[in-house]
Symmetry: C2
Subunit: 371 residues, 2 copies
């Protein structure tokens, strides 16, 4: 039967540590997953990419990495990539390239605070940011010319917004809003933090970019307006500047937030400041055929190799990966184990004000998993 | 003598209330300025612009408004502009157009917290954001095409970054960093909030936009590297996503921040959340020949006409206008009077948690001016 075949399912996961603080925690946690329901087992393949790899081999993303992901992997976990501080000829960000080549069109970034038992003053935040992941300024169509009258340089970049990409990203936002609402139904009303209808906030700057952001706005609105399935979801809009302002003043005002690529990049880092540290914010790059987990934080070269980096973003990203390939129960196990460690507030890395090492946090999560 | 002629100087200020919460406070405060040193007197000319004006007259910025500013005014004060929530054919933001037509190439946005005597817990913030004001996505070169294979819409916007605009904006940042440092010298070291060398933080996203933001970054860096005048100013960089994260975690880390137009728009609204309300954050649109004060907040249609809007952003913008046309002492008078009212924390509008009306705050500032 299907159940039996799922029970013995082995998932092949591509591991791309890339630069700096890597993927160790996520692997260990996946391997320690208790055998609930139809849990998969895992097979990991190490894959190359990144700035360090570029420096040795002249490319930041070897073809073989993409090929193996497409042919052999059920999903992937990416570490973080270093950005050279100066322009390096021939170098181009491998994460941006992978999103494009694997058509991972939505970047799903849940930003959730877990109030520690020690710090009940913290505002509760539970926002799901859906970032369009393939276009906007990330199409990287840039050119430089010399203004002949002055001899000075003038550079141009193209920003692309398509109906096609906006629609599927918008659809993802409304679907996830329904999904979150369904999960909430299992919590008694008085304990729910979000008591109203699910809500999607559309971010744009159509007061300046009336054509591109106008198309984004209209298309995302159209997703709801043309499908009764989403009748139960509220929809509202925020200009990107007001969005950032409001995010900091009233984070509990937001449920699902959907944004074009660059705004989404900025908003999600900003939201991370609300939950204590970038070190706890995961993401999943989601397409119709592939999912790649990726912590929102960077490669943090200053703390790499010191056993100090917070592994939680990477661990939660592994949870997101499972969630988006259909293993909801297993994902929930990971989220709960992480929340448990955060709630106790005893074993935390320095970014959260603690003194624990990376491995101690990983061990604590694994211990909590098996409770 | 020059002194005498300056003493009797009459400044002509264009007043453009535009939409929603307007310029009343700034005018009253300017008129109440005490006659210190070589104080000017004022002459106001009311000028039209805005969305309401567009709805009646088919244009958001009549030529005559620009002409009078250019020919008759020494500076201007802008109110705020409504953004229609949907696309309106023929409408285009008048503030963006004025910045371009008057070549107001830098938008100077000081974000300063004044700890109220009642709330000493507030983190101190004192950041000067210099936003490039003429290009980036604000060149508004957009087009929409139909993808013939799918029949779907695809829209494109151009983002322009020029060496010319980046350099003059960068120069403004380093000049203002020196200016702030000079002002600080008059404060005893132990009382200074910023004790180190002045610092300019350059915001960009050159890990993705290597050509456009690469040119921005290099050009702004070049301003310091090519001029010993700025040897005493530290320079550092932040990717725009990290910038927003860090802004919220360590606002005291920043002194002067210089950013391309769109990033600057987002960062300044974000920074406003750190100082209690958008209602206290002013700006000046500065060019070589003209200055226009403008509160950072929007037109707030929900509270317009109710005597509830915070007039402080507009009043401080009048101070900035004076500062940038050379009346430093008079500007300082305005800033101090406002700080005084905020520090007392008795007469505050609802956005700051108070119950005072717009006019009560204006009156309090005027009272404090004449102390
Ligand atoms: C490293 C960089 C190219 C990347 C991005 O801008 O998308 C990162 O900031 C992220 O958010 O994943
Ligand atoms: C109204 C809008 C066009 C404007 C801008 O984006 O510049 C506003 O947000 C501002 O910051 O002055």
């Amino acid at each position: 039967t299907t159940t039996v075949s799922r029970q013995v399912k082995k998932l092949t996961i591509g591991l791309i540590p890339a630069d700096g603080i890597g993927k160790e925690g996520a692997r260990q946690v996946l391997e320690a997953l208790p055998n609930i329901e139809d849990s998969p087992s895992f097979n990991f393949i190490n894959l190359d990419a990144g700035f360090e790899y570029f420096q040795k081999n002249g490319t930041a993303l070897p073809d073989v990495t993409l090929e193996i992901m497409k042919k052999e992997c059920d999903g992937a976990l990416f570490g973080a990539v270093s950005s050279p501080s100066h322009k390096v000829a021939g170098y181009s960000s491998p994460i941006v390239a992978m999103r494009k080549h694997l058509d991972l069109y939505a970047n799903v970034r849940p930003v959730v605070s877990v109030a520690s038992e020690k710090d009940i003053s913290q505002k509760h935040v539970d926002i799901l940011i859906i970032r369009e992941n393939t276009e906007c300024l990330y199409v990287k169509q840039e050119r430089q010319i010399i203004d002949e009258s002055t001899g000075l340089k003038v550079a141009w970049a193209e920003r692309k917004i398509s109906e096609y990409a906006s629609r599927r990203c918008g659809k993802m936002a409304f679907e996830m809003a329904l999904g979150r609402d369904k999960l909430r139904q299992s919590i008694p009303l008085e304990k729910r933090l979000w008591k109203g209808k699910p809500k999607v906030t559309i971010v744009h700057k159509s007061n300046v970019l009336s054509i591109t952001d106008g198309l984004w706005r209209e298309t995302v609105r159209g997703v709801k307006e043309n499908d009764h399935k989403y009748d139960s979801v509220d929809m509202e809009e925020q200009l990107v500047d007001s969005m950032v302002y409001r995010l900091f003043r009233e984070p509990h005002y937001f449920d699902v937030v959907v944004a074009p690529n660059m705004y989404g990049d900025i908003i999600s880092d900003g939201a991370a400041a609300l939950v204590g540290s970038l070190g706890v914010v995961p993401s999943a790059n989601v397409g119709d055929n592939f999912v790649m987990g990726e912590p929102v934080h960077g490669s943090a070269p200053d703390i790499a190799g010191q056993n100090k980096a917070n592994p939680i973003a990477a661990i939660r990203s592994a949870g997101l990966l499972l969630e988006h390939i259909g293993f909801h129960q297993q994902a929930l196990c990971i989220y709960n184990a992480v929340d448990d460690v955060l709630r106790h507030g005893e074993i935390l890395t320095p970014d959260l004000g603690g003194k624990a090492t990376t491995q101690q946090v990983i061990d604590a999560v694994i211990k909590s998993l098996s409770k």
